[in-house]
Amino acid sequence: MYLFILPGFVYFVVFRYLPLLGNIIAFQDYSPFLGFHSPWVGFANFHRLFTDPDVGIALRNTLEISALQLAFFFPAPIILALLLNSMVSEPAKRLMQSVLYLPHFISWVIIIALWQQIFGGAGFINQFLRNGGRHTINIMNNPGFFKPLVVLQVIWKETGWGTIIILAALTRIDATLYEAAAMDGANGWRRLWHVTLPGIRGVIVLLLILRLATILNTGFEQIFLQRNAVGARAAEVLDTFTYFRGIQGGDWGFSAAVGLLKGGVAAILVFAANRVAKAFGGEGAF
């Protein structure tokens, strides 16, 4: 039996645990030629976190995008799931779900190509404006539009997929509660308020807490792909910062420090979030 486990065990040790040790370079002035024998510099890389202005920009962009996502993307699947749930025609509902889940399976490169074809300089909207003799507008490479745009893209791509977990929670609500509420004279809105929302409160709280725990994650590919069009000042987030400073720029020790701090904060937030979820009377994620 151990022979079946062994390859997977080796995989997890080598590719998931060994890199953790690699984080020691955050305390080194790492150079690829010396490898892990590079000189130790203590916390010098971490001191630079506070003096390098680019770190501040990346952190601010990360938090701003996360906050916008929390305000606009987080409620979207809940509202959409309630809408789908109120559809009486089963076949129409299934058709709608097929359409809404699709973009989840399409890569960010393609999604952004699609958006560019609609909103970009030579895209559909500008074609439309040009035909009407009006001024064209390039939404895709305007730094001021970048953050709302990124959030809109996430809403477009992932809202449908996000409804799955809400819809699952909705099916677990006892149907007799609705009937009883209707008998007592509650109309559709009151049933939504007094039966449906309390029924999915647990899932919503859990999702909210998990989202808060991953507040430093904004997704690498989506941002990376559109960063050049608007510049680093508007678009750099912690993950892209680490990539460009470390792998492109060769500032290994410093970018590892940024990554390590981000990972450390994320780990603390996950555990704290789980505690809070349990305190709310939920089951917690683990």
């Binding site: 039996m1 151990y2 022979l3 079946f4 486990i5 390859p7 997977g8 995989y11 997890f12 040790v13 590719f15 645990y17 890199p19 953790l20 690699g22 984080n23 370079i25 959409l80 809408l83 109120s86 559809m87 025609s89 709608m96 097929s98 359409v99 699709l102 973009p103 399976f105 399409i106 890569s107 490169v109 393609i110 190509a113 699609l114 958006w115 074809q117 609609i118 040009r130 035909n131 477009w156 799955i164 977990i165 009937e179 209707a182 109309n187 690498f220 590919e221 792909l225 990539y243 470390g246 792998i247 290994w252 970018s255 590892a256 990554g259 390590l260 990972g263 780990a267 996950v270 683990f286």
Partner: protein, 299 residues
């Protein structure tokens, strides 16, 4: 006259016409917003010079042509990248499945000492990752930069899929396994002849998810492949569609004819890169709506 049974339960008041029409209009707008970009891109990919130069909005090309697709499939970087992606998707998924099935099987059997510790080791990885820099250094120290191993090995097992599969294996009736073992069957025989045939649906959905992830993989390829000749379709798509790279080498253009418009070729690349996902999508959907995932989301 036969009475139609209403689609809503008897205690519910009859939905007002206004509410029904309003909801239908809202859903129609949503469906339009989701589907329009796809329709538009497909239309542009089939349009000819006359359509593009005409300057009008292309929703149905007046002079449809396959020129762009012909130019792509005749050879060049895009065609090569498509082969790379097909190979990576097939090869990568085979590695994923062998590794995941094997480990899930080993961890699913009762009373294997230490298996709980190994499972805990796996579950912890769901909560954290080491970070981009250490992952990159590991791949480089293993000598995998610019090899396809760098795209397959670091993601050989998805811990989520492993847990789902292990749970499914454990839910199978244990009498089957025990009676086979009494007849002297080996562990491998039990896996191949009893467990796997009973697990076809869950194996199919996990393989599809792995396959889609390989086809869509952009992050690892960006990190680990410097050599542009080795690029899969997603990176090539970025260079020629998002960054507007010159298409002369990307596709095989006929020197005796005016080339198709760049926009048309770009959109044809997008359509081709999306097609495999659209083809497997109905199969994927059949499974995830049937709750293979809803049970797994909260494992």
């Amino acid at each position: 006259m036969a009475r139609r049974t209403p689609a809503y339960p008897p205690w519910m008041e009859k939905p007002s016409t206004l509410a029904r029409v309003g909801k239908m209009a809202l859903l129609a707008v949503l469906a339009f917003l989701m589907l329009f970009p796809f329709v538009y891109v497909i239309a542009v990919s089939f349009s000819s010079y006359m359509d593009v130069l005409g300057g009008g909005l292309i929703l149905v090309p007046k002079h449809p042509t396959l020129e762009a697709y012909r130019a792509i499939f005749k050879g060049g970087i895009v065609a090569h990248a498509l082969w790379v992606s097909i190979g990576l998707t097939l090869g990568g998924t085979v590695v994923n499945m062998v590794m995941t099935v094997s480990m899930a099987y080993g961890l699913s059997r009762p009373a294997v000492p230490g298996s709980h510790a190994v499972l805990a080791l796996v579950l912890v990885t769901l909560l954290f990752s080491a970070g981009i820099i250490p992952d990159y250094l590991l791949v480089r120290n293993l000598g995998l930069i610019d090899t396809y191993g760098s795209l397959i090995l670091p993601g050989a097992i998805n811990a989520f899929n492993l847990v789902i599969l292990r749970q499914f294996f454990m839910s199978l009736p244990s009498e089957l396994v025990e009676s086979a073992r009494l007849d002297g069957a080996s562990d491998l025989w039990v896996l191949l002849r009893i467990i796997l045939p009973l697990s076809k649906p869950v194996l199919a959905v996990i393989a599809l998810f792995y396959g889609v992830a390989h086809w869509n993989d952009f992050f690892r390829a960006t990190l680990y492949l410097n050599d542009a000749h080795k690029w899969p379709i997603q990176l090539v798509l970025r260079q020629y569609v998002l960054q507007g790279g010159a298409l002369a080498n990307a596709v095989a253009l006929d020197p005796n004819q005016p080339p198709p418009p760049a926009q048309t070729i770009q959109m044809a690349v997008v359509v081709i890169a999306t097609a495999p996902i659209l083809i497997v999508y109905p199969f994927l959907q059949r499974y995830f709506t049937r709750g293979v995932l809803s049970g797994a989301i909260k494992g």
